[in-house]
């Protein structure tokens, strides 16, 4: 386990247009509701940061992402990272101006690694997160992908993580595409390998389905933070009555039925997760009173 600062627990919100979405292996996206409602709830439940990823990342959607960020920045006072389709220094500037504290880069950095250096020089290393989407190959090797695991790059993950660090990245958001949305647990081997090899913080992402999964990845690797999506989103959807009346664009069938339970994913709220970790010796920002005022 990492010695030092408190382990950060970070809800990850995948955004498509005006909606919060979630899928398995980032395919077959389900609409879950309004991102603002989830963000506010997580803030009140003690989230240490938030990550927003625009999973479609096409330019015509960009305005709704900006609106979501600027609306939430007015009432949520924790660091917010925004990523998905940011290509240029101007793209970065515009999400920072909308209220983001950090940006997450994937495709742009793979196509042009020097953008990491340029962005770190202009905005500071602590503002630049590199998102790495890893898929394990039959050979046991991990390769980096882009576009939510759809585009093969052939780049080996460990080397890429080290290079990103040397170019000035401040943090790595490490997602296992194999585990993403499955609830089978984090890819421990992947997280261990990367987090022990770089000295910048690593956020483990993809696969959380139970409290034990979260505890395990913190205890057995040197991850500085964990990102969680499905467990928290399904918990909120289940408890939030009004979400079944949600009529956003896209696939909202799941919300109407809501009965569909995933065997592998336990719906658990953020405060319960932190309580569990705290009582199992993991230093984290936990308060006994469930709700912040």
């Amino acid at each position: 386990m990492k010695k030092g600062l408190n382990i950060r627990i970070i809800p990850k919100l995948d955004i498509k247009g005006p909606n919060l979405v979630k899928g398995i292996h980032l395919e077959g996206l389900r609409v879950l509701g309004k991102p603002e409602d989830f963000a506010r709830h997580y803030y009140q439940m003690g989230a240490d940061e938030l990550i927003y990823i625009d999973v479609v990342a096409s330019l015509y959607n960009r305005n709704s992402l900006h609106e979501i960020i600027s609306r939430t920045a007015k009432e949520i006072f924790i660091p917010m990272t925004v990523g998905g389709g940011l290509r240029t220094i101007d793209d970065i500037k515009s999400v920072l101006r909308a209220g983001a504290d950090k940006v997450s880069l994937n495709t742009a950095a793979i196509k042009n690694p020097d953008i990491i250096k340029e962005a770190a020089t202009i905005f500071g290393s602590s503002t630049i997160t590199i998102a790495i989407e890893a898929i394990k190959q039959p050979t046991g090797e991990y390769l980096a992908y882009t576009d939510n695991g759809r585009e093969f790059t052939g780049i080996e993950v460990l080397g890429w993580a080290k290079r990103a660090e040397s170019l000035g990245a401040g943090e790595i958001l490490l997602t296992s595409i194999d585990r993403e949305g499955t609830g089978k647990g984090y890819d421990l081997e992947l997280v261990k390998r990367i987090a022990s090899a770089v000295s910048i913080p690593v956020i483990a992402c993809g696969g959380a389905g139970t409290l034990e999964h979260i505890h395990e990845v913190i205890e057995k690797s040197e991850a500085d933070a964990v990102a969680i999506a499905s467990m928290l989103h399904y918990d909120f959807v289940t408890k939030n009555q009004s979400s079944s009346e949600y009529t956003g664009e896209g696939n909202t069938e799941f919300l109407k039925r809501k009965t569909e339970i995933f065997g592998k994913i336990n719906n658990i709220d953020l405060n319960t997760i932190k309580k569990y970790l705290f009582h199992h010796g993991i230093p984290c920002r936990y308060k006994e009173i469930a709700l912040f005022p």
Binding site: L5, D48, F77, G170, P201
Partner: protein, 214 residues
């Protein structure tokens, strides 16, 4: 209740403005010395390099405006680099003069801790703030009045301050074996190394209580 947030073109000031507005203050982001002088309260935020910040403040004519405002006795709050700029000098990339409101200097975290392990710099994340042992009541009647001993706040920094006088220390924080002043109070001037506007509801309460003096 008009607050001027000093803009010297180095940082993202929206979260500071949002926090002010959230607790009911009217806050304007400005580079104008006149607006600083006429404000009811002033916030000096900032991330980035010390020398660049001092140079920009000087170029905008803000150095004198800030010093004059502080002499007026009206509430002034420094955040992150804004705390460091209040000090006499900094050793970030050479030695540079600061605003010299708080006697003392700005130094870098040691590269290695007491066990000779490499210290991760910058410090990024949640760390606790504590009262100096000699003054258990020091947070009463300050913006920290609602904060509990050991509360966690959000930090991002590579340098920290060494005040000459212990009486100016409002909070202490320990990072990888180094204990340092993470909060400063001298009369109408309060300053924090952490970001209250990024520290959740507890951080917001610091803005709320600071606003009460305006």
């Amino acid at each position: 209740m008009k607050v001027a947030i000093v803009d010297y073109k180095l940082s993202n000031l929206f979260s500071v403005q949002h926090a002010c507005e959230y607790v009911g203050m009217t806050a304007e982001i400005t580079s104008s010395p006149e607006k600083v002088l006429n404000a009811d309260g002033v916030i000096l935020p900032g991330v980035g390099a010390f020398a660049d910040a001092m140079k920009n403040l000087e170029n905008f004519g803000l150095l004198e405006a800030i010093k004059t405002f502080i002499k007026s006795g009206k509430p002034f709050m420094g955040i992150c680099l804004g705390l460091q700029l209040l000090f006499s000098e900094s050793e970030e990339f050479g030695t540079h003069r600061g605003l010299d409101i708080i006697p003392g200097k700005v130094v870098k975290f040691p590269l290695k801790n007491h066990q000779a392990q490499i210290t991760k710099i910058p410090q990024i994340g949640w760390n606790s703030i504590n009262k100096p042992h000699s003054s258990p009541d020091i947070w009463d009647h300050t913006p920290l009045t609602e904060i509990k001993e050991g509360e966690l706040m959000y930090f991002v920094h590579s340098y920290y301050v060494l005040p000459e006088h212990n009486k100016h220390i409002l909070t202490l924080t320990t990072y990888d074996g180094t204990t340092y002043a993470s909060g400063i109070l001298r009369e109408n001037v309060v300053a924090f190394q952490f970001h209250p506007e990024k520290s959740g509801p507890d951080g917001v309460s610091i803005y709320r209580h600071w606003a009460k003096n305006i």
